[in-house]
């Protein structure tokens, strides 16, 4: 029995008596909807004949989904309580804790959602309702009265004919505005030129009571030339307290022991650069066949640490800038524009030290970078 077959009550809600207890419930629904600007134009039960095989089947399907959802939920809770979750090295049952709990929780939620959607699509009555939009601007008389009210608000203050007050208000308005942001900006503001934090690194002898800083491994042990084999490389840190920590994040250096012919190429390139003054500043910082480059990419600051022994390149894995080891680490591909700074090497008591700090700023460029 399709309800929309009912004769329309003349299109007006007034045609039914809302207080009459004998009025069918749906007529009240329809009348209420009309009052809300909604016309229910089609409304029919999915199953005009109750209890057909199809309807029963859908009911059974939904019941099954709900039952499974509940079982998954309790299964997940059981896994959460009883399954071991502590990490053990190697294959262990605890590795299944997260998948099992996820399966229980996720399965329960998913099946519940499925049951609800099937219920809505298969069992709720078919319906087409049409609502009026009532869009567009407010009626023009409303607009006029509101704008009059707003304008009157300004007139009531009389601010227009009181220029002294108008001017006087600006001062506290600006002042309080500045006062409100002052604590935030003032406390956060930090001058980058204080102590030249963008220019100095851990290799500055000032960090080591004026002594030249040793090249050390992460554990702090100093390095002798024979520790790095020919063609090999090693990440080294300034030999000062905390030198290998993120406190000196701009200081890691790649120490490379070049092969004889590569070292000769680099020496020739440096000499050529000194004559033509290309890629300034030119640093002659090699010690024997050893050279040390800053590991911090001049593009975005990632460690440019992938050492290609065959092509003598350093590759930064973040944005693929490539630097030529045998030519002062100038960029030869990718977005980097400047060479990796070279750390001038020296030998003291048989151990490597930095002759000085880097002669140019390490890492990414910025506006006032010298």
């Amino acid at each position: 029995m399709s309800v929309d077959q009912h004769p329309r009550a003349g299109g007006a809600e007034g045609a039914i008596d809302v207080d009459d207890p004998s009025v069918p419930q749906f007529d009240l629904v329809r009348a209420g909807a009309r009052r809300d600007g909604v016309e229910i134009v089609h409304y029919a039960p999915r199953f005009p004949v109750r209890g057909t095989k199809v309807e029963k089947r859908i009911e059974r399907t939904i019941a099954l989904l709900l039952t499974l959802s509940g079982l998954f939920a309790f299964g997940g809770v059981a896994a959460y309580i009883f399954w071991p979750f502590q990490y053990e090295p190697g294959p262990s049952a605890s590795k299944l804790f997260t998948p099992l709990f996820g399966l229980g929780l996720g399965g329960a939620l998913f099946l519940l959602g499925l049951a609800m959607v099937v219920y809505a699509k298969k069992l709720l009555p078919e319906e087409i309702a049409v609502q009026d939009r009532h869009d567009g601007p407010s009626p023009s008389d409303e607009q006029r009265m509101t704008s009059a009210t707003l304008l009157n608000m300004v007139d009531e203050t009389g601010i227009r004919r009181r220029p002294l007050l108008k001017a006087a208000i600006l001062l506290p308005a600006g002042g309080i505005g500045v006062a409100a942001v002052a604590p935030l900006i003032g406390s956060l503001l930090k001058n980058p030129n204080d102590g030249h934090i963008l220019l100095r690194t851990g290799w500055d002898p000032a960090n080591n009571n004026g002594q030249k800083v040793r090249l050390t491994r992460a554990d702090g042990t100093p390095i002798r030339p024979e520790d790095v084999s020919v063609g090999g490389q090693m990440t080294v840190f300034p030999g000062i307290p905390g030198g290998a920590t993120n406190q000196y994040a701009d200081s890691p250096v790649l120490l490379i022991h070049l092969r004889e012919e590569d070292a000769a190429t680099l020496r020739a390139n440096i000499e050529k650069a000194q004559q033509t003054n290309s890629h300034p500043p030119v640093v002659q910082g090699m010690w024997g066949n050893f050279v040390a480059y800053s590991k911090i990419c001049t593009h975005a600051g990632c460690p440019a640490s992938l050492y290609e022994q065959q092509t003598n390149r350093l590759l930064c894995p973040c944005h693929q800038s490539q630097f030529s080891i045998t030519n002062q680490a100038i960029p030869i591909f990718g977005p980097a524009t400047r060479k990796l700074p070279m750390l001038p090497l020296e030998l003291e008591d048989g151990y490597f030290v930095a002759a000085s700090d880097f002669l140019e700023p390490v890492g990414p460029a910025y506006w006032e970078r010298p």
Binding site: Q86, F101, G102, G113, L114, V130, D132, L198, N246, Y366
Partner: protein, 544 residues
């Protein structure tokens, strides 16, 4: 005694009514409540994309609150002594240590972490696809321009929220991301170095940045997100939903189902499906196994370090950017780093342009009307092609964000991938524009053809004079020239014949029939196009 019991029973039956009466006496809810229940929602699958974002956001709030109970953003150094043996004895920050504890020592902590991460990826994906829907159907047009802008802001807020969250665990990957972020900040002309040292409280990384990101991530940005989402939905309700053109649908009405029970039950069910999907992903699919990366150290990085997918397009633009620093030879000399263009300027343009797009399009089309009916993408070829162009641009950047992985997996030179990206970025978008434009025109033409000649049925008929014609099923009654009188209405045109007079309807049931097959319908003479007059048909039949 029995009388008292009787009265009590009657009271119970009356209770809901009495409670409702009491509530209404105090709050006068009868009218607004009924209005809410009766609010009409149009139905289309593409309208649920924004819902996915909303439900993912709810999941993010829930899982995020759980994580906050155990996470400590402190950058103080400590030695790991937790249950994950490979990292025992290693120096790390409290942030990384508590992230590891969440993964190994908090019961159910790992799934919450993974659900939070998957939820964030899904949130951003749903926002992007939802924006495609809005753009390609013209739903951003007047009066909805401001909701379009709010949507864009939600995308960027989600972007920063996601990046902040990605940075918090302080593993090697997130630290590298933060290092790049600091370089990007440094590259801003004039104020770059001041801004960076101020944000980081000194030199990168310092000890301030994670606690600062944490308060942004768990308080400030979510607060703004919630406010904007609320405004977004309020405007949606106030302006009412757009709808596709169709029978009875006009610019002045909404045709659909009422909010309760029909729309409400579907939406609630769908929210459970989204929650369930996130939980299943969090449980079954590993994401961000940060114990494998180790703590962040300035000198450690690995190949194939990719950010989350929604940041990848900026990573790609950074990779493709040629090494062009601009030097300004005034005084000591100033630099605009190459990094500035793809990471600050490009996102700036990508924010401003789409924000202004609704007004740009309205001006170009001289269109000041309010629009509540959606447009099919094919009907506005220029806009659709522009969108395809933007997607092509975005895809080239996103793929380039993983060009090292592509190079490795397909054994292509890395430098070749970079060059392919640079060339592709210039070539692919115009190509996408042209191809999309042509496809739109082709689809339009096919719609008009079907309207003029009817649906192709695939039935070949031999005429008495020996000719073969394909039978077309017209969509409207024919005029005297044998053409259907029907205008294109902006709605999909049926392109499959209906079964009337051709085949019996299929029997319902998946494994076995659940109803009796209908009796075969007698084959009626199908109208053909070019139409043969019925009288002529009769003649030819009699002639046989």
């Amino acid at each position: 005694m029995s009388a008292a019991r009787k009265r009590r029973r009657m009271d119970l039956a009356r209770m809901p009514g009495a409670v409702a009466q009491g509530v209404d006496e105090r709050f006068q809810v009868a009218t607004p409540l009924r209005r809410l229940i009766n609010k009409v929602y149009p139905d289309h699958w593409s309208f649920m994309l924004g819902e996915i974002a909303l439900y993912s956001f709810i999941m993010l709030l829930l899982t995020g609150t759980f994580l906050a109970l155990f996470f400590d953003p402190s950058m103080a150094e400590t030695t790991y002594e937790g249950s994950y043996t490979p990292l025992r004895g290693i120096q790390m920050t409290k942030a990384y240590e508590t992230s590891l504890n969440l993964s190994f020592d908090v019961r159910g902590g790992l799934i919450m972490r993974q659900m939070h991460h998957w939820g964030a990826l899904l949130f951003m994906a749903a926002i992007v696809v939802h924006m495609f829907r809005i753009f390609f159907t013209g739903a951003f047009r007047k009066p909805r321009e401001f909701n379009w802008i709010i949507g864009l802001l939600l995308f960027w807020l989600g972007f920063f929220e996601g990046f902040a969250g990605y940075s918090l665990p302080d593993d090697a990957l997130s630290g590298t991301g933060l290092r790049i972020a600091s370089a990007i900040m440094l590259s801003i002309p004039v104020i770059g170095s001041w801004a960076t040292t101020s944000v980081f409280g000194g030199e990168f990384p310092g000890t301030e940045i994670l606690p600062r990101l944490y308060i942004l991530h768990v308080f400030l940005i979510p607060l703004i997100l919630i406010a904007l989402i609320t405004l977004h939905i309020f405007l949606l309700v106030k302006q009412k939903h757009t709808q596709w053109p169709g029978p009875g649908r006009t610019n002045h009405n909404v045709v659909g189902v009422r909010m309760f029970p029909n729309f409400g039950m579907k939406a609630a069910g769908f929210s459970m499906i989204v929650f369930g999907t996130i939980a299943l992903m969090g449980g079954l699919l590993q994401i961000n196994p940060l114990w494998l990366f180790g703590p962040y150290r300035a000198e450690v990085v690995s190949a194939a370090s990719q950010p989350d997918w929604y940041v990848m397009f900026l990573d790609g633009s950074t990779r493709l950017m040629p090494a062009w620093d601009i030097h300004i030879p005034i005084g000591d000399g100033y630099t605009i780093p190459a990094l500035f263009w793809p990471t600050i300027l490009l996102p700036g343009v990508l924010t401003i342009l789409p924000m202004l797009y609704p007004w740009i399009e309205a001006r170009l089309r001289k269109d000041r009307q309010a629009h509540h009916l959606l447009q099919r993408p094919r009907d506005v070829p220029a806009r659709t092609a522009l969108g395809a162009m933007a997607i092509a641009f975005y895809l080239v950047l996103t793929i380039s964000g993983a060009n090292d992985v592509v190079a490795e997996k397909f054994d292509i030179s890395l430098n070749a991938m970079t060059w392919a990206g640079r060339v592709g970025l210039l070539v692919a978008p115009p190509l996408a524009y042209y191809v999309t434009y042509r496809i739109c025109l082709g689809l339009q033409q096919h719609d008009r053809e079907v309207l003029a000649h009817g649906v192709e049925t695939g039935i070949i008929r031999r005429l008495p004079d020996g000719r073969f014609i394909e039978v077309h099923q017209p969509l409207a009654p024919l005029d005297e020239h044998g053409h259907p009188q029907i205008e294109y209405a902006g709605a999909p045109v049926p392109k499959k014949m209906n079964r009337l007079g051709a085949l019996a309807p299929a029997v319902r049931g998946f494994f076995f029939p659940v109803e009796k097959p209908a009796p075969p319908t007698p084959v009626s003479p199908t109208p053909v196009s070019p139409a043969v007059a019925p009288a002529e048909l009769e003649e030819s039949r009699e002639g046989r």
